[in-house]
C-alpha cells in the first residue's frame, strides 16, 4: 500500500471539511503556547542545532551588535543605555565579559560606521565608552573595516 500523506488528499475535499474542524481545534487550544513541555523537548534536543552554532560568535550576532549600536546612536541614546543593550545581546551569545570580547567591540565600531560617524566622532565615543586601550583599538578597527 503506497503512502498517502495529507497533501495528497483532494484539495476541494479538504477545504469543505477543514474550516469547521480547524475552528474546533482552534477553540480547543489556539496558537502555539510557550509551555514547559515544549521547552523540555526543545532543550533535550540541545540549543546547539548545527555545527556552525558550536563555533561561537557568529555573523548574525555581529550584525545585531552593529545594528543595535547604529540605531542607538541615531536615536541619541547615551552610553549607559548602549552598554545595557550590548550586554543583553552578549549574554544571549554566551559572553559575560563583553568589554573583553574582540568580535563584540569590532561590531560596535561597525555600528558607528553604519550610523555615519566620522573619525573624530569615533575617537570621542571611544574615549567615553571604553574601559581599556584594547577595547578602544578594537572599536576603531571595526569602524575602519566597515567604513
Amino acid at each position: 500500500m503506497p503512502p498517502s500523506t495529507s497533501t495528497q488528499v483532494p484539495t476541494h475535499c479538504r477545504r469543505y471539511v477543514a474550516v469547521p474542524v480547524l475552528a474546533l481545534a482552534l477553540a480547543a487550544a489556539g496558537c502555539s503556547f510557550s509551555d514547559s513541555s515544549a521547552s523540555i523537548s526543545k532543550s533535550v534536543s540541545s540549543p546547539l542545532t548545527s555545527s556552525s552554532e558550536s563555533s561561537g560568535s557568529d555573523e548574525s550576532y555581529k550584525e545585531d551588535v552593529r545594528d543595535a549600536t547604529a540605531a542607538h546612536i541615531a536615536a541619541g541614546g547615551d552610553a549607559a543605555e548602549l552598554r545595557v543593550r550590548i550586554g543583553t545581546l552578549a549574554e544571549e551569545q554566551g559572553i559575560s565579559n563583553w568589554e573583553a570580547s574582540e568580535p563584540t567591540n569590532r561590531a560596535i565600531g561597525a555600528g558607528l560606521a553604519k550610523a555615519g560617524y566620522r573619525d573624530v566622532e569615533v575617537e570621542a565615543f571611544a574615549a567615553g565608552f571604553t574601559q581599556s586601550e584594547q577595547q578602544r583599538q578594537w572599536i576603531q578597527q571595526g569602524f575602519k573595516d566597515a567604513k
Binding site: 500500500m1 503506497p2 503512502p3 498517502s4 500523506t5 495529507s6 497533501t7 488528499v9 479538504r14 471539511v17 474542524v21 480547524l22 474546533l24 481545534a25 482552534l26 487550544a29 489556539g30 496558537c31 502555539s32 503556547f33 510557550s34 513541555s37 515544549a38 521547552s39 523540555i40 523537548s41 526543545k42 532543550s43 533535550v44 534536543s45 540541545s46 540549543p47 546547539l48 542545532t49 548545527s50 555545527s51 552554532e53 558550536s54 563555533s55 561561537g56 560568535s57 548574525s60 545594528d67 540605531a71 542607538h72 541615531a74 536615536a75 545595557v84 554566551g94 559572553i95 565579559n97 568589554e99 573583553a100 570580547s101 574582540e102 568580535p103 560606521a113 553604519k114 555615519g116 574601559q131
Partner: protein, 615 residues
C-alpha cells in the same frame, strides 16, 4: 516618555542607510506549520529570514509574545518533536525590503524583550521587598555563585581549607596593581552600597530593568561573593570532566591553547576589576570559575569544564528516561558530535573567544548529563536558559539594605501597585485573542505595516483580507503578493515512513506502523492523548480509524475516572483529549499526529522536499 523613546528608536532604524548592507544571507519565507494536538492545534505560522525565525507564541496572562530562534531550532521543535509538516512559501523581496522587514521584526522582538524584562524586574522587586519585610533569612539564587558556594552557605567562607592557586595568583596581581587593601576596601564599598540601597520603584516604567532594586541588590551581592572568592582563593565546584571515548586527554597543542586562555582570562578579569560596570560581579564569578577550571585542566592534562545546569533545572522523570532509553542513547551520539564540534572550534581559535567556551560548556554538560541519566535510569536535567553558565546559590544571612519597617511596608505597597498596573498595561499592549490577536494576525500586522516597495498593494490588504487560520493565511498571502515558490517539508513520521517504504514491503510497513501498539517509529509520549491509529497517512479509511480512536479515547476516559484518586486525572485528561481529537477524523480531517520529543535532529537529514508553484 517611553512611547517617545520607542518612536525615536523606530524612526532611527528606518532612517539608517541600507545601501551598506551586505548581500542578503538567504530567502524570506512565510512558514505555515500543520496542526497537531496540544499547543497550536489549529496550526502555527512564522516568518524566516535566512537562518532566523520569528513567530508569536501565547504566553501566560493572556499575552502574545514574539519569539526569535534559529530555523534549525524551530524545525526541530515543530517538524521532529511536534511531528508537523512545514509549508514554506518563499516571497521575493529586493534587498532593501528584506533588510527593512527584518529590522522591523527585530525591533519588535527587542522592544518586547525589554518590556517583559521590566515586568520581571518589577516582580523581582515585589518579591525581594516581601522577603525583606518578612525577615526571610536567605536571598534568591545569585547567578555565578553556585560555582563556589552551596545553597545557604555564607560567602564569608574563611573556614574553607582548599585554595585555588590560580585565583590566589589573580588576587595577588590585583593587590599589586591596586594596593594591598584593595579587596577589603572594595568589599566595604559594596557593603556600604547595599546598606544605602533604596527602592526607586516609581522610576521604573520609563527606565531599564537593570535599574530595578532587586537587580541592583543582586549585582552587589554577586560583587561581594566575587570578592570573597578572591580573598579566600575558593576553588570552583560544580565542574564536569569533558566526555568522549578516551578523548579526555589534552594534546600538547591544546594545553598550549589553554595556557594562552588562562593568561587571557587573567588579563580580562584584571581589567574587569577596574571597570565601572555595576554588574561586574556576575561576570567576575563566571570568569574566576573558568580560570580555576582551565588551570586545573592544564595541571591534570585532562579537560574539565563548568556544569551549566541551574540548581533548579526542571527534569525529565526517570520513568520517561527508562521508557525512551534506546532513543536517548541514539541522541547521545549526536551530543558527543556537538562536543567534538565545539571543542574543535574552541581550540582552533587564534585568541580566546568566550562564546566558544560557553558553547563547549553547554555541549559537554548536555552530553554528560544524558550519558549519566541513561546509564543510571535517573531523572534527566533539562537545560532551559542561554549559553552562559549561571549556576546560582542562595545566600544565608546576606547583608541587607537598611530600611526600617515603615519604609519597607510603603515600598512594598508601591511595588505591588506598580507591578499590577504594568502587567495590565502589557496585557493591553500585547493581548492574545483566539481570533483577533493570534500567531497569524500579529505576524500579518507587522508585514502589513512594513510598507514594502515591491508588494505595497498586497501588503496593505493583508490585515483586512486575511483569515486568522494559519493555513488560510499562507494561501491568501500567496494570492496577495503574487508568484511564490512553495515547499513542503515533511514531518518526521512522514519522512521516516517514506524511507521504510523504499526498503520494505509497502503493506507490511503500513500495517505495522498504522497503530501505536506495533509501530517501530512511535514511542508513546506522556503528553500525547489516548489514541490507537495514526490517521495522517490514511485518507479514505480515516473515518473508520477515527471511530476506533474515539472508542479508545472514551475507554481511556472511563478508566481515567477510576484512576482519578491515584494519578490526579492524568489518564482522564489523556482520554478526553483523545476522544476530542478523534471527532475531526470521522470528518476526514486529521489533526493528531503523535509527538517525538527525543529524536535526534540528524534523522531529518536527506528529507524529500516537495517543490510546488501554486500561482
Amino acid at each position: 516618555m517611553r512611547a517617545r523613546r520607542r518612536l525615536l528608536v523606530a524612526a532611527a532604524i528606518l532612517a539608517l542607510p541600507i545601501h551598506e548592507a551586505a548581500a542578503r544571507p538567504g530567502p524570506f519565507e512565510y512558514l505555515y506549520v500543520e496542526a497537531n494536538e496540544g499547543a497550536s492545534s489549529g496550526g502555527h505560522a512564522a516568518v524566516r529570514f535566512a537562518d532566523r525565525c520569528y513567530h508569536f507564541q501565547h504566553v501566560d496572562q493572556g499575552r502574545i509574545q514574539l519569539v526569535r530562534e534559529s530555523f534549525a531550532q524551530f524545525e526541530h521543535q515543530y517538524r521532529i518533536a511536534g511531528n508537523r509538516a512545514i509549508h514554506a512559501r518563499r516571497i521575493e523581496l529586493d534587498d532593501a525590503d528584506y533588510e527593512h522587514l527584518q529590522a522591523i521584526f527585530e525591533e519588535h522582538y527587542r522592544e518586547q524583550q525589554r518590556d517583559f524584562a521590566l515586568l520581571e524586574a518589577m516582580t523581582g522587586d515585589r518579591e525581594l521587598l516581601t522577603d525583606l519585610a518578612r525577615g526571610r533569612a536567605s536571598t534568591p539564587r545569585i547567578p555565578g555563585t553556585g560555582y563556589f558556594f552551596a545553597d545557604e552557605e555564607s560567602s564569608d567562607s574563611s573556614s574553607l581549607s582548599a585554595r585555588s592557586p590560580a585565583i590566589d595568583a589573580l588576587a595577588k596581581r590585583l593587590r599589586r596593581l591596586h594596593g594591598d587593601e584593595t579587596l577589603s576596601l572594595r568589599e566595604q564599598d559594596v557593603r556600604d552600597a547595599i546598606a544605602s540601597l533604596a527602592p526607586r520603584v516609581g522610576d521604573l516604567p520609563d527606565g531599564s530593568a537593570d535599574e530595578a532594586f532587586s537587580r541592583r541588590y543582586r549585582d552587589h551581592l554577586a560583587a561581594l561573593s566575587a570578592l570573597a572568592v578572591l580573598r579566600h582563593g575558593i576553588p570552583a565546584r560544580a565542574t564536569i570532566a569533558a566526555p568522549g571515548d578516551g578523548a579526555l586527554a589534552l594534546s600538547e597543542r591544546e594545553i598550549a591553547v589553554l595556557r594562552r586562555t588562562r593568561r587571557q582570562i587573567e588579563d580580562d578579569l584584571t581589567r574587569l576589576f577596574a571597570s565601572s560596570r555595576r554588574d561586574w560581579g556576575v561576570a567576575m564569578l563566571i570568569g574566576l570559575a573558568r580560570l580555576d577550571v582551565v588551570a586545573a585542566s592544564i595541571d591534570t592534562r585532562q579537560l574539565s569544564l563548568l556544569d551549566v545546569y541551574r540548581e533548579d533545572a526542571p527534569v525529565v522523570p526517570a520513568a520517561q528516561v527508562r521508557r525512551h532509553r534506546a532513543r536517548l542513547r541514539a541522541l547521545l551520539a549526536e551530543r558527543y558530535g556537538d562536543v567534538r564540534d565545539a571543542r574543535r572550534a574552541f581550540f582552533a581559535g587564534r585568541s580566546f573567544d568566550e562564546s566558544r567556551l560557553s558553547r563547549l560548556e553547554v555541549a559537554a554538560s548536555l552530553a554528560v548529563e544524558l550519558d549519566r541519566a541513561t546509564r543510571s535510569d535517573t531523572d534527566l536535567r533539562v537545560h532551559t536558559h542561554g549559553f552562559l553558565p549561571e549556576k546560582g546559590a542562595e545566600w544565608l544571612d546576606a547583608p541587607r539594605p537598611e530600611l526600617d519597617g515603615a519604609e519597607l511596608d510603603a515600598a512594598l505597597i508601591r511595588a505591588r501597585a506598580l507591578e499590577t498596573s504594568y502587567a495590565e498595561e502589557l496585557s493591553r499592549r500585547y493581548p492574545y485573542d483566539l481570533i483577533e490577536h493570534n500567531c497569524v494576525t500579529e505576524l500579518l500586522r507587522l508585514l502589513a505595516g512594513a510598507d514594502l516597495q515591491a508588494h505595497r498593494d498586497g501588503a496593505a490588504a493583508l490585515e483586512t483580507r486575511l483569515a486568522f487560520v494559519p493555513f488560510l493565511s499562507s494561501r491568501a498571502l500567496a494570492g496577495l503578493v503574487g508568484q511564490t515558490t512553495y515547499r513542503r517539508l515533511p514531518s518526521y513520521r512522514e519522512q521516516a515512513l517514506m524511507r521504510m517504504y523504499e526498503s520494505e514491503n509497502d503493506a507490511l510497513v503500513y500495517l505495522r506502523e498504522s497503530n501505536v501498539l506495533t509501530s517501530t517509529l512511535y514511542e508513546r509520549e506522556r503528553d500525547d492523548s489516548a489514541f490507537f491509529f495514526f490517521t495522517d497517512d490514511a485518507f479514505l479509511p480515516r473515518p473508520i480509524l477515527g471511530l476506533a480512536n474515539l472508542t479508545t479515547g472514551i475507554a481511556a476516559t472511563l478508566a481515567g475516572v477510576a484512576a482519578l484518586p491515584i494519578d490526579g486525572g492524568r489518564v482522564l485528561g489523556s482520554g478526553a483529549r483523545g476522544a476530542l481529537f478523534s471527532v475531526p477524523e470521522i470528518g476526514f480531517v486529521s489533526i493528531r499526529k503523535g509527538s517525538f520529543s527525543f529524536v535526534p535532529r540528524r534523522w531529518l537529514e536527506g528529507a524529500e522536499v516537495e517543490e510546488l508553484h501554486d500561482n
